[in-house]
Every structure is written in structure tokens, then in C-alpha cells.
Symmetry: D2
């Protein structure tokens, strides 16, 4: 198989302060589709072009942030192998199996804590009720979309201390490729940002070095084009959503982007564009003297709020 | 590794009737960059965002068409394994090793003829002089682009008789995934079109059933967005290029597209858009009663010239 | 005043074979908004960014086509003056006053037949209930749009015999400017197409020479950009509307365009782009040897159906 | 005539600290075309789609800012009439005739100082060498454009004290229409922003109330679409130009925009979009509690630098 092992970001589980405003945000502003609620009161959602049952999980809690992020792998056999290798790597802690059915329509998940303190999951089975355009003579887009209407949950950016350990785990055990890195120091010897991919996308998960463990910067969703970024920006104003930054472009990944906050203060991104990554493509390196341009290509300035507001 | 085995379309070798008008077309209209000429008079070109040394090879000949298409694999070890498996499959003929250096800056290539009659190559080594924006603090696009300026050679569409055998070879031996198919007959039992991918792209190579072996429909190049498709259409008129069809959208792959001919009659496509494919995504099926919509989503008519003009 | 006299196309009255399918087309496919019905069963509609009460009138009849097109003038005084000058010009026939209220929320209209056989109206009063975003702290676009959702009715293209007389009337009496013309014959002595404007738009009304009087080619509606032209093309396919031609670009006016038919066979256009016209700008001239490029810039071919299917 | 009197912004004369860096900026970054230099060392430039000889004048001086802005009127007769009416209005000071030829290829200009302290000119004659695509069978855009390549000089935004007097002069004497206004105070009784047009554009000149007379906020140039705004933003970074704000959208006029500075600190804007204005369209009113949204629709915040950095 040409794509094997870890296939894609499968879900992100977010804590929100109040469920109803959060749900209104994720369905009417962002434009996800609710697919289930469970007995604990969690709500499961997906974007219109995703085949899997859900990709976003919302849970009411006392503080916002990310509970865990899950990746789909290609088979139960791979799941067992990777679980074993994660455990044996010595890089992960708190390894545990979550039983099938704990997420609706989802098989067993292997959860572990990575060196930056985040809980990551692997799973091989989740029902695929299909995307909104179907698999037989599909239209290019469905009717009745709402809000920004991204096609997919795309990636997360996470902040934590031991980025070296986390990158080692993702590259050496989970088979990710380092698409882009930001380095600091006189000889560029400190890795302060890592953009990792298990696919042709420019990133499936990214990490920024930060003194605290387990901080969440944003969950990102895919738009089709720069015109949709403008539409998203307009919706942010029409719906009185808290804007962070954008529309603009990242130097890193080339993506055209806009950032905003859900009612609990969790940062969301919608973006479009980028390039096609291959595992034999040289890692792109950004040096800290060009960090402004790396993050926001147009204004080339470090933005304290963007760098430091986390959940 | 998450992406393994066959990585990407690496080159297409085209025959042209006269080299100079062809070169003018591929560099000034399409906007590729010449990277080498060899002693035989072949010209090697690439698109601006490709890291590899070349992706298009032009050769002067008495008739237009495709000599061969090559795919890059992830390692020499994989090359040897796949060569062996291709030979053992009984699906390929005329297997041969092309020595290193036969293409400039390129290692050994394993060439074989697939059931539809086309010559396909696998190779593991080709120098990577890098893309035009570099790997250190890169800009999102380079200056001094010309013409349509696609970022990459993307895929080919080929016509031939034994599509079943070719699809079997690509799926079972080379690890490709069938992203979309067109089926005909009362029970959809005849596969008349197959769109195969070794990546997250909707297609890396595609086949249409046709009574003759080894016919070439088009080589396709990637644009960033629908605005660039309009610019390409304008350039076609400004440069008096022979337009085939477009701007329009395909039902198959959702791509926004325009087709035109090089001076020798070889069809080119530039396109943008599509979706993110995964190997566990169900194959999209188009039924022959919706064939018009599958090919050109907007006018939904079968176009004889598009279906039957081949080189 | 800088803009005086005839201000803009104010309405087009179309005949449709069956009202309900027509209404479904104009509201759900095109995306106009119904604003009134009258005792005769006529339906009045407008586009979302228009301040006037209506801009499209549909009437059930035995044959499709255009009943009349009306232009708003800047005042009752101008209306009287222009009515007198039209009558005195000797270029118009069948001059008559239509009483106030014959269209809802509309004052008296002066109707006359121009040399190409079409009925044209002038009026100074029509209620302005306002556009959908309002005039106080408006959003850039309203919620709840449907279909292609053009912002305005823009212009009509009409076919008739005495184009010279009609152009003389529009230029010399009504103060229009000839933005573009198509000429034929060895010395370009025959005017076969005239694109006339009373504003900064590239055209407010256009005429093509044709042996019959009073034929209707299309009514056109304004989109914001080329991305909306693609969305319109997709909607044409999703809703199984009869496509004429597009997406493409006109040489004349530079507009990016798509044409389609209402259920009665009346042609509609939605388009975007163009340039800013001024009355002292030289008339652009297209010669008949470049007529293909003038009409459809990309394929540069004369299209019999586009040229000859009329209502 | 439907468009009469004052037709359009014809030129803006800017002071720059050093001519050569300024010229590099206006030709290579912005992408204007130099059309003449005169004995005083002034450089005259135009955008590619303008028919007139020049629209921007650069002069080396000790401080940046605007010398004057000129408007083209429809005839010598109108020029004489408006000059007389401006003088008689009592609203203008320092009225003077500038002799023909003081600008190359330009007839006499009538210059006067408006209540906000800015020098405004009217003129009826300037040679029209034509736009870069010509008037016979033109292509939609010319080859060899550089930089952002706007199609036209569009408008200026000026700051000054007596906005009421200036608006009165533009509306009552020069025939402009007040497309949008910003009002402040408990009953909205203070006009703090006025967007005036002599055409179908949303603005041809605009004023903001400010304690000092004769301050220059920006000169604006027209792009075709939001994709060109992104390209402009990328060029700003590639060429290390000082970015002010954007890409974003204005609430006022709906335009999609980006602001930046020339090397002397004069602010430039490139923008696209807006709506079609008519003189009978109700003035859009923004109230000061929505001023943030009025200026920058997405972030809805007052930006001190944007409001107060002037030349």
C-alpha cells in the first residue's frame, strides 16, 4: 500500500464551558454537522466531506482546552503493532486501551501521553456513514451547508515543553514526516516549532515549544479557497465571533488563513491552500530571525496574543 | 512510514513533431522550466514547485504521443521488490532495466508494459535540486514565472483495452487505491474508467477503456485555484493555442479544469481542486447513464472530440 | 449632477409558458426575491442589492420572450423631456404613457417602440424599499440567499433589424455611450453589434443585427466574482437547468460569464467583471474576422446556438 | 448625456522624499507605468487600463504628502462653468488657473483650495494615448505587467477640519453624491466621514474630520478581485514593503483591501469590489458605535495607526 500506518487525524476532543453556545458556534458559525450525543452529554460532529462518523467531540467542563486528539490507522493489525511500539519506545506515558463503543460507532482506541504532555489516541475502526455528497454519481458539494462549511477537520497545533521527544515519537515510531521546522539559537540548534505530516498534506499535527505541558493552540478545518476565507471572515463579523488574526497567509505551509475563538476561548482556524508534501521532500527550515514572516507572511511581526493565548 | 512504496508520478515522456515549437509551448504557454538537454536532443523540464530534477521529457519524433510515464518509489529496496513483484504478477510484459544516467541525474529505472499497452517505469533515485522557492525561509511563490505556471506535473489519463488487467496490476502489485470508477452495462459490470491514486490526491494516473492499446489522452498539471484556470484560459487565447474544453468542472474528482493541445496535438490539462483521498475511503462510482455529468459536470454531454482525440 | 438623465436598467418584463416552474427557476436557481403579485397574475421580483421595488416581471403567455425593458431616469422633469424628445426624434413608434400603478409601487411610464422593434420604457418613480442589507451599518451581504444570488439585474441583449436607428436613438436622444461595437464588411461599414451604456458599466443594453424585429437574446444579472460563476455553473447541473455556454469569458466587455435557459427557453446570463467605462473613453471596436474571440474569448468559435436561439 | 460634469479622478500629485526609491515602489511594487518626466524632475505615471496620459505625479520634496488631486470634467464648457461656480460658492479659496502644458499633454487646470485645506483641480483636456490593451479587438489584460498591477487610480482619502464645507462644495457645486457617511454624537449630528462619488463607484474621493487642515491619508488603486489582494499582500512581503493593514474588508463600501506605505511614508491602498452606486440610492449611514466595523469589517476595532498616521 502507498498510504499505510497512521492515515489521518481522526478526531479532536475539546472541552467547552457551556455546551449550547459551543454547539451553536460549531454548527452555525463553523458549520459542522452533529452526528450523535452520548449518555455523558458529549456531542459528536463532523465536516461535510468526511466519511467517518465524527471528527470533533465537545464536552462541557470547567476549563476549555483539548482532552485528546485521535489518529486513524490502516488496520487493527497496525493498531496493535503501533501500540506495542509506542509502549516500547519509552517516549510515551499513561498508555491505556479505551474500550470499543466509548466513542459511538468507534472501536478500541489506544491512548498515550506524549512528551509534550498531550493525550494522543490511535484507532483502526470507526463507522463510515459516508460524506454528504455520497459515493454514487456525487455532486461536488452538498446543499444546505451552513456557516463557513469546511470540508474536513484538518490538524491541531499544540504547545508543550519536550518538543524534541514528541517529534522523535511521531517520526520514529508513528512514521510521520517533518514537513517544516522552526529553529532558534546561533546555530539553529533548538527546535521551537515542528510541523508533522503522515500524508501529502503540509501538516497533520504541529508543535510549538513552550514551558508548560499539554497546552492547546488551535484546531484547524479545511476550506477550498481564499474566497472561502473571506466568507469566513465576514461570518465572524456577522455573528460577532471573537476574531484572532486574519485573513492572511502563513509563511509556514503557505496556507491562507483566519483564526477565531469559540465561546469558551478555544482557538479555531479555517484555512486553504498549501502544497503537496512527500516523505522524501526536504524539510523546510525557518530561522528565528524570520519567525515573524514564518508565522504571518504579510505583516512579519510576532503577535503576542497569537503566540501566548492558549487553552 | 505513512507514505511508502510508490510515491508519485515522477515523469512523463512525450513525443513531439518539432522540438522548438513544442519547447516554446511547454515553457512559455504552460510555463515549465527547462533543466537539461541530452545528447539525443531530448529536453527535460520541471514545474516550479517540484524538487526533483525533471518531470517532463520531450523527444522529437514522427508521431506524437507518450513514450512512457515513470513513478518515483521510496527506496532502492522498494524498487527491487516492486520490480520482482511486477515480473512475477504475470500482468506486465517487456520488463527491462534502464541504466542509471539514461535520464540525466536519475538512477536505474525499471520499465514494463502494462495490460493496456503503456510503458510504465519505476525509479528510486533522481537528484533533487529543489523547488524554485528553496527550503530555507521560502516565499510562497517565486518571481519570474511565465505562462500558466503550474506548481507540479500531476497525472496522466491513458486509453487502452485491458483496463481490468491494468487496474489489477496498479492495485494489487503497486499498491494504488481506486479513488473513482466509471461502470457500464445493466449491472455496472464493465469498468470503463478507473482513477487510481498512490497518495492523498484524487488521482495519480487514470485509464479509460478503448479498443486500441497504448493511447495517450492527456498529461495534467496542477494550478492553485479557479482564478488560475481563468488565467490559463486567457493565455490559451492570447497565445492562439488550440483549446479543447473548459474552463469547466469534472464530476469525477471535482477538479476545475481546462484542456488544450500542444503544437503536436498532445492534449494538456491544467486544473485545480479536488478532495483529499485516503485508501480506506470508499471508491466513488459513476454509472454510465451519468457519464456526461461525470466527465464535464456543467454541460453533462458526451463530447466526441474529448473522448476520441488521442495521441 | 454627475450622473443625470437615464440612470439604469430598471426592469425587464418576460413572458413565460408556465408561471410556477418559471418562478421556481427565478427564485431558487437564479435566486431573485419575489416582492409582489398583481391581479393579472404577474409576479414581480428583485435581486438582493437593488433598492427599487422590482426589476424583473414575469407574465404567463403562449410564447416566451421579452415584453419590454424599462429604464429609470433621474426625475419627473427628465421623464417629460425625454418623452418629448423621443417622440420628436422620429425614431420611435407606438409612443404611449402607461399610468401610474400599472406596475405596483411605480409611477407613470413612457413606452415606445425602437427601430429594432423592441418596447422600451422610461420612468422616474418606483418605490425604494431598500436592499437586503439596509442603509444603516450594513453587512456586506445578507443571510438567507438562495441559488446564484446575483446582486442586480444588469442588462439585456436584444436582436433586431434596424440597429443603426436604435443606436442613434439611444446615443443621440437618451444620452447613452457606445462602449463597444462589432463591425463587418470590407471597410467595417456595417454595425452588427452595439454595446451601449448610460453609466460606468460596460453595458446597460446591447443590440445585435438580425433580420427579424423584436427578438430577445438574454437578460443578465451581476455576480461578484469568477468563483460565483463556478458556483452558478454547479447549480445549473445540480438543478438540471439547461446550460447554454460557459463558464467562459467574453472578449467584448471582458466579463466572465455563463448562459442558461429558464424553463420557457428565455436565456439568462450571470456574469462578473468588466471595466469602468467613461463617456469620453474611445469606443472599442471588434472586427468581424475576430468575432469568435469577441463573443467567447477562450474558444474563439462562432456558436450557432448562441447566435441564433432567441425568444 | 447620462454621465456629465465631473467624470473621474484624473490625477493625484504626491511628494516623495527621494525620487528613485519612490519610482521603484510605484513601478515595481505597485506596478504603474512611467509615461513622462518633465524639466522639474517630476515623473508622470499611469495604471494599465487608463486611457489618459497620466494619473499619478511624483515630485521630490522635503516632506511627503499630497500636493493636489485633479478631476477630469466632460468639456471645456463645463470646466468654465464649474470654475465660475466654485469661485462664486464662497466655499473655495486660492482659486487659480494653471496654464496648459504645466502637466505634459494636459490642458488648463482650475485649482482651488477646499474647506478642509486640500488643493483640488478640474481639467477638461488631457491626451488619451489609450490603455495597454488598445481599442481594436483588445485582450482582457496586457502582457508584461509588474507588481500588483492595478487597472486604475481610483480615489483618495483626505483628512481635514471643515468636512461640512467640503462636502457642501462637492455635493452642491461639483455634483457629487454622498454614497456613505459616518456620523457621531448622541443624535448623529456630526459628520465625521464622507464618501463622495461622481460616478457609479462607491467613492471617488473621501474625507475624514480631523483637527488639522490638508492631511493626506491614502491614494487608492483598483484591483480586479480578492485573489489579487492576496497577491498584493504577498508582494508586500516579498519586496519588504511596510504593511499597514490587510488583507481585510471595509464595512464602508464593502471593498476588500490592503494598505501599505511608499518609501516616503505616503499610504497606498489596493482594493477590489464594492457595489454599484446611483445618485438616487439612499446614503448609507454608519454610526460611531459601529465605527470599528465600518472601517475594518472583520476585526471591528479602531486602529490608532490607521486613523492617525498621515502625510
Amino acid at each position: 500500500m502507498a498510504l499505510t500506518g497512521v492515515l489521518r487525524p481522526g478526531h479532536v476532543a475539546l472541552r467547552v464551558l457551556e455546551l449550547e453556545p459551543a454547539l451553536k458556534h460549531y454548527t452555525e458559525v463553523l458549520g459542522l454537522i452533529e452526528t450523535a450525543r452520548d449518555a455523558q452529554g458529549r456531542v459528536f460532529l463532523k465536516a461535510w466531506d468526511e466519511h467517518d462518523h465524527h471528527s470533533v467531540v465537545l464536552r462541557e467542563a470547567d476549563s476549555p482546552g483539548m482532552d485528546y486528539m485521535g489518529f486513524r490507522v490502516d488496520s487493527g493489525h497496525t493498531l496493535e503493532r503501533l501500540a506495542r511500539e509506542v509502549e516500547q519506545s519509552g517516549l510515551a506515558t499513561a498508555c491505556q486501551w479505551i474500550p470499543a463503543g466509548e466513542h459511538p460507532h468507534t472501536g478500541v482506541r489506544f491512548r498515550f501521553t506524549i512528551p509534550t504532555g498531550h493525550a494522543i489516541e490511535l484507532f483502526a475502526d470507526k463507522d463510515k456513514p459516508g460524506c454528504r455528497t455520497g459515493d454514487i454519481n456525487p455532486d461536488p458539494w452538498p446543499d444546505d451547508l451552513r456557516g463557513m462549511a469546511p470540508s474536513r477537520f484538518d490538524h491541531c497545533l499544540l504547545y508543550g515543553d519536550d518538543v524534541d521527544g514528541t517529534v522523535k515519537l511521531f517520526r520514529e515510531v508513528l512514521g510521520f514526516s517533518l514537513a517544516e521546522q522552526v529553529v532558534a539559537g546561533p546555530d539553529g540548534e533548538t527546535l521551537i516549532g515542528a510541523f508533522l505530516t503522515c500524508s501529502n498534506k503540509a501538516h497533520d499535527i504541529a508543535f510549538i515549544r513552550h514551558p508548560e505541558k499539554n497546552r492547546f493552540h488551535h484546531a484547524s478545518f479545511l476550506l477550498d479557497n481564499w474566497g472561502e476565507v473571506l466568507k469566513a471572515a465576514d461570518i465572524i463579523s456577522k455573528k460577532d465571533v471573537s476574531l484572532d488574526i486574519g485573513p492572511t497567509r502563513h509563511g509556514i505551509t503557505r496556507g491562507a488563513t483566519i483564526y477565531f475563538f469559540d465561546p469558551s476561548g478555544n482557538r479555531n482556524e479555517v484555512f486553504s491552500g498549501g502544497y503537496i508534501h512527500y516523505p522524501d521532500k526536504p524539510t523546510i527550515t525557518w530561522t528565528d530571525n524570520e519567525l515573524g514572516r514564518a508565522i504571518f507572511y504579510h505583516d512579519r511581526k510576532l503577535n503576542e496574543a497569537f503566540l501566548n493565548v492558549l487553552t
